[in-house]
Symmetry: C2
Subunit: 382 residues, 2 copies
């Protein structure tokens, strides 16, 4: 167990209380500056996604160069992925909502990778059948956020392998075992599927360049824990003749139970708000959620509460505050003690309920076209 | 370098003078007994392939149990493969000729794997384009040996990956890195493609069982250096619910230059007789080939020569002695000194020339149907 000052962040483990500035130094990434945010706002037509405006995305690699290219007429594409081990929860929205917003504002293609092979190799405890079913269910949820059917392409690994493998062959040859061992902390007992996997996770970063026969830059919005995967990708990019992918890193979203990050597996079900939770379950989870509140009402009125450690505040912040004004009102009310936790939760529930209802309807509509987004053929044989 | 008593046999390295009995003990395989040969002869309709009769195949795993099943109405299938790094040479015939003979005599399906991915990962020094081209050229040569188009199926890895991958996902999870490191001697610098590869090489052993939804036993005739690959396969078979593949092991065929085994890469071109060598090249290679002859004619007449170390005798033995009588005549003449090397070579050339001519014609005819043997679809999605 790490001490209070220690933390561990890898694609396969997130532990301890993360110091994001320290992590940025450890990983060697850049801060998202006010200047960069202003530039994004301008290019996006004068608005900024709350996920950027509220600092949830806080770090990047090469975003400036990507925007330089965009301004000089070189469009990029978005890439993000999902390891399907269960239903999506609200912290997944952080990743896909930003993608959707960028797709809409910058009118760029989106590539989504559903990593059903990796989830099996990483011993999620699920059968291939269960993982494949979750893969499709998750895809409906992702597409339902509002992705443009004409600009959205899906690599569902086991079904898209013919499209991915010719490029994976080239990528895999560039990556020695020693690299993946060092980056992911693999053990002798790690299975050879997981050892290979990072090659397949790198492929979408280069796929459009390969398909179009010219450099198409890639932007990956992801949780900061996924950065190590793409450091490997960036290291091999030039040797393969493709541009290094740019990255946008988000902070980890705290669990409703107040202990660590929200996750689908390895956490109790109450740690996360799943998109398919029935209304009574949502209500119970929110009512029981860990907050930054005080022990008594009197104390809270007097001293105020602490939004930074509150799982409810994190929900307002990531998506449910419909405006900056509302977000500031909640934050200020919390800090001053004028907004009590019960009241805050009730107000949040009023926003979550219609969102989940609307989402469930949108999700049904994606079933008509979701399969058509799955890429099954390579653009060329080699 | 190994001493004179030492030898190394792995899929990626064959060094030293191999003691086949010792290797059988090292690998823990069974000898092919006279009784087993008699049984094979009976089941094959009263004849025996020269490759079996002359002891080139000398060791096996579970052949008895496979034949038990066959006699009780459970047909098996054959599986063999080729890493395409250049033209086929005559020692490849050892593997594919036995397959052809078994297919004809036992009327069983044959699965051929063309491992264009592995050859790239194993750093053959060739580009993906060159390897893919050799893959197709090699396939024509293999099919031209007389495989039955209706019973022959090809996994051309990069083109068949959609058919192989769902099963490869399951196989790979069963194989820890420590196993492939120990079996193949992988180093930290080994690329993650090669680490993964043994999963894909195992898939054809189980594929027909997967496709048919019942146990279909597999028989693999291969050079003994390939045994380690399939020990891994055999170890994971039961856990996946499939029968362990049976194996037939051949000895390594000596190089024409007299130093080690014939190989496509890593040896001078004169070490092997390629199926596409022009007549003048064939003549030169045979004339210059290393033999078991003596320093002078007089000495050879008096003491006789040594067939066991002779690359020319190996050619008679593996395919060019058209009958057992002819093979015994050549062997006895060599040993007694009545047959001199020049005369022996001239007689062999008379057999090689028409074989290569006929083969080249048969090869052209396979081009009409070779592509149709390539399997591109999985029998089921998972």
């Amino acid at each position: 167990m790490p001490g209070p000052e220690e933390f561990v962040v890898t694609p396969y483990e997130v532990r301890g209380r993360i110091d994001y500035d320290k992590l940025r130094e450890q990983f060697g990434t850049q801060a998202i500056t006010a200047e960069l945010l202003a530039r994004l706002r301008r290019l996006a037509g004068g608005e900024l996604s709350p996920l950027l405006a509220r600092g949830i995305y806080y770090s990047h690699r090469d975003l400036g160069a990507l925007l330089d290219g965009f301004e000089h007429g070189r469009p990029f594409f978005l890439y993000s992925g999902r390891g399907p081990s269960g239903p999506l929860h609200t912290s997944h929205l952080v990743q896909f909502e930003l993608c959707r917003w960028i797709q809409e504002r910058f009118r760029v293609p989106m590539y989504i990778q559903i990593t059903d092979d990796e989830k099996f190799w990483a011993r999620s405890g699920l059968s291939r059948e269960e993982i494949a079913r979750w893969g499709l269910e998750n895809l409906y949820d992702i597409l339902a956020l509002g992705f443009d059917p004409k600009r959205t392409h899906v690599f569902f690994d086991s079904r898209s392998i013919a499209a991915l493998y010719p490029l994976a062959i080239r990528v895999a040859r560039k990556i020695p075992y020693s690299t993946v061992k060092a980056v992911f902390g693999f053990e002798p007992s790690t299975n050879i599927g997981l050892v290979f996997y990072t090659a397949l996770q790198s492929v979408p970063c280069f796929w459009p360049s390969w398909a179009e026969g010219k450099e198409v830059p890639c932007l990956i919005p992801c949780g900061v824990d996924q950065d190590p995967h793409f450091r490997v990708t960036r290291d091999v990019a030039e040797g393969l003749g493709y541009p290094k992918p740019a990255l946008l890193h988000s902070q980890m979203i705290p669990a409703l139970t107040g202990d660590g990050a929200m996750s689908t597996t390895g956490s109790p079900a109450d740690a996360a708000l799943f998109l398919d939770d029935p209304p009574a379950v949502v209500e119970r989870k929110v009512r029981n959620a860990f907050t930054g509140g005080r022990a008594t009402v009197e104390e809270q009125r007097r001293l105020g509460a602490t939004p930074e450690i509150c799982s409810i505040w994190a929900l307002w912040r990531t998506r449910f505050a419909e405006s900056e004004a509302k977000f500031q009102e909640v934050t200020a009310g919390c800090r001053s003690g004028s907004l009590l936790c019960g009241e805050c939760k009730a107000s949040l529930l009023e926003r979550i309920r219609p969102f989940l209802r609307t989402h469930a309807e949108a999700r049904e509509r994606t079933k008509a076209w979701a399969e058509s987004t799955i890429v099954t053929e390579a653009p060329r044989p080699l």
